[in-house]
């Protein structure tokens, strides 16, 4: 059996990116930060997809994470990045634990559509709430890091570093998790739920846990996004946000956490590029690529890599 070098590879890329952070041009750093924020949310989705569930509503928790960071700064007077992110983790954890009780009874299209419905409810609520800036959203405070307050442009370097450490750190942990008992239980649930129950594992329990974990990761991503762009708005909970997460997961494939992180980065660069040259055809472009992937590359870009490796 080949030795698994994934953990080492992820750690090396992480250190390299953190070191390179201060030297990158500002636009590249911003695109990178957003890409990694999305990667965190999609890593959560990866857990669900491995369990055989597609959620069209991860935007719900992405938005909760972002708004938690925003409200924490605006109303609670917090500025510490870790405290702001923790707020999102707690909020999303509580809400997902409750909604999860309902959702863990459903599979397939029901799961997909109910999760979408929940995120659209939050979108509707936030769009109507005057206090939280309705459809415009509001600005997020400039974060500090454990008492250290970097000045001016340096804040973005720190946020980028935080995003790198979190995304790759979570990637490494998830990679281990997927190979643990609970990780394999996911795939067992996807393949055959009744046998899983017969073996004495509660499928609903597995689904519930994965749902909560996925929610927390999406909230982390939303928090990072809020700190990076300095602004949150209800469109974070809109169906297009959740749809983009699903798209990234399909683009990369669910074989490996590296596939997700690379796909998130590729996605963000293509998005930046396409929306610049032709703003009204971005969704159409997404849709066409999505159909092409489903038709010709159902296991995502990562399967190309695996195919090349097998051929050599």
């Amino acid at each position: 059996m080949l030795r698994d070098r994934s953990t080492l590879a992820l750690a090396i890329v992480m250190v390299a990116l953190v070191v390179a952070g201060p030297f990158l041009p500002a636009w590249l750093r911003f695109v990178g930060t957003v890409a990694l924020a999305n990667a965190l949310a999609v890593l959560g989705l990866l857990l669900l997809i491995r369990t055989g569930l597609v959620s069209f509503g991860q935007g719900l928790y992405y938005c909760i994470g972002g708004y938690a960071a925003g409200v924490g700064g605006k109303d609670l007077g917090l500025t510490d990045a870790f405290a702001l992110l923790a707020l999102g983790i707690v909020a999303s954890g509580i809400i997902s634990a409750i909604l999860g009780l309902l959702l863990c009874r459903y599979r397939e299209i029901f799961f997909a559509m109910f999760s979408m419905a929940f995120s659209m409810i939050l979108y509707g609520l936030l769009s109507k709430s005057q206090k939280l800036g309705s459809t415009d959203g509001f600005n997020v405070v400039t974060p500090t890091f454990l008492g250290y307050a970097p000045d001016g442009a340096n804040v973005k370097v720190w946020v980028f570093g935080l995003a790198v450490v979190l995304a790759f750190g979570v990637g490494i942990v998830l990679h281990q998790h997927l190979r643990s008992g609970m990780g394999y239980a996911s795939e067992a649930v996807r393949d055959n739920e009744i046998r899983v129950e017969y073996l004495g594992v509660s499928a609903q329990y597995v689904v519930w846990w994965k749902y909560v974990l996925a929610a927390v990761l999406a909230a982390l991503g939303g928090g990072i996004q809020a700190l990076a762009s300095g602004h949150v708005g209800p469109e974070m909970a809109y169906w297009t946000t959740s749809g983009e997460f699903v798209f990234i997961a399909l683009l990369g494939g669910t074989a490996h956490v590296g596939a997700i992180i690379s796909a998130a980065v590729i996605f963000e660069f293509i998005k930046t590029w396409v929306t610049q040259i032709s703003p009204y055809t971005w969704q159409m472009f997404l849709g066409i690529v999505l159909l092409v992937i489903i038709m010709f590359l159902p296991k995502g870009l990562w399967s190309l890599l695996a195919r090349m490796r097998r051929a050599s």
Partner: protein, 298 residues
């Protein structure tokens, strides 16, 4: 008493609109096992086609009566064209895939259609209020309602009767029922399932477009119209039971009246009522009111 009348009439109006959208969605699912997310886009396409046809029509000062026929024609033409294009051009290549994969496929179609609508009709809002205004208002028990809205109820009843008659009293309908009951067996018996699929998808698409076109005079037709509709229609359809037309009718009535009650009595919870009713029904009957429970995979 006044409030009660208002709740019932508003609820029935809202329900009749919901039913036309939901019937198309549930019909396509029942026959083809495809939850068509692009159904909302067909609604938007119908709305745009209807609105732009009406704008064109009134710019020429033709008599008002013709505009109603024009709305229906615009819906049928645009819905049938786009439906046929989507089914023949794409879905045909994907049959037999997993239901979740089909949702993703229709999600791709939704994305493409959303931008296609913007490219064809632009991003400005269309207003085609004349058919709505010219019908005037009718009073019921001391309350006045727009006659156009009441006419929508009549249209919805006609659609429901036509669907019921088509499915239960015609030969084509019997073939459809056979396909719903067992697709493989129906194929083995010599039913042309491909043709049934095409016809079903086109009818479903036309229903979506019809709902859009009939709503167009009452609203400003602007981008992003279709997506809220699909989420709402899905709520109706699962409440009634996915794939059941009677279910869509009952689901639309329950949700329509519940929403109207919320609007009149407690407006803050309007958004929750729709999903609250859905959650309540599903808590008691997880498969919805009218659908049979499926066997579990072993």
């Amino acid at each position: 008493m006044q409030t009660l009348i208002a709740i019932v009439v508003d609820g029935v109006i809202y329900a009749s609109w919901l039913f036309i959208v939901a019937a198309g969605l549930t019909l396509v699912y029942g026959v083809m096992r495809i939850l068509n997310l692009a159904h909302g886009s067909l609604y938007a396409i119908g709305a745009y086609a209807g609105a732009s046809a009406v704008v064109w029509y009134f710019a020429r000062n033709y008599p008002v009566a013709g505009s109603y026929a024009l709305l229906v024609i615009a819906a049928i033409v645009s819905g049938a064209l786009v439906g046929l294009l989507v089914e023949r051009g794409l879905l045909r290549l994907m049959y037999g895939r997993d239901e979740v994969v089909m949702v993703l496929v229709t999600y791709g179609v939704l994305l493409i259609l959303e931008d296609a609508i913007k490219l064809v009709f632009g991003v400005e809002a269309y207003t085609a209020f004349q058919p709505y205004e010219k019908m005037g208002r009718t009073s019921i028990g001391g309350m006045t309602f727009a006659t156009y809205d009441l006419a929508l109820v009549a249209v919805s009843i006609v659609v429901a009767l036509a669907l019921w008659w088509g499915v239960n009293r015609t030969k084509q309908g019997k073939l459809l029922l056979a396909v719903i009951a067992d697709r493989e067996m129906a194929t083995a018996l010599g039913i042309n399932v491909t043709r049934v699929f095409i016809v079903t998808f086109v009818i479903g698409s036309v229903l979506g477009a019809l709902a859009g076109a009939l709503t167009a005079p009452a609203i400003a037709v602007a981008p992003g119209l279709g997506v809220e509709v699909i989420v709402l229609a899905f709520a109706v359809v699962v409440t009634g039971g996915l794939g059941s037309i009677e279910g869509a009718l009952v689901g639309a009535l329950i949700i329509g009246i519940a929403r109207a009650a919320a609007v009149h009595l407690w407006p803050q919870v309007e958004l929750f009522v729709i999903y609250g009713v859905m959650a309540l029904v599903l808590a008691v009957r997880p498969q919805g009111l009218f659908a049979r429970a499926g066997a579990r995979k072993i």
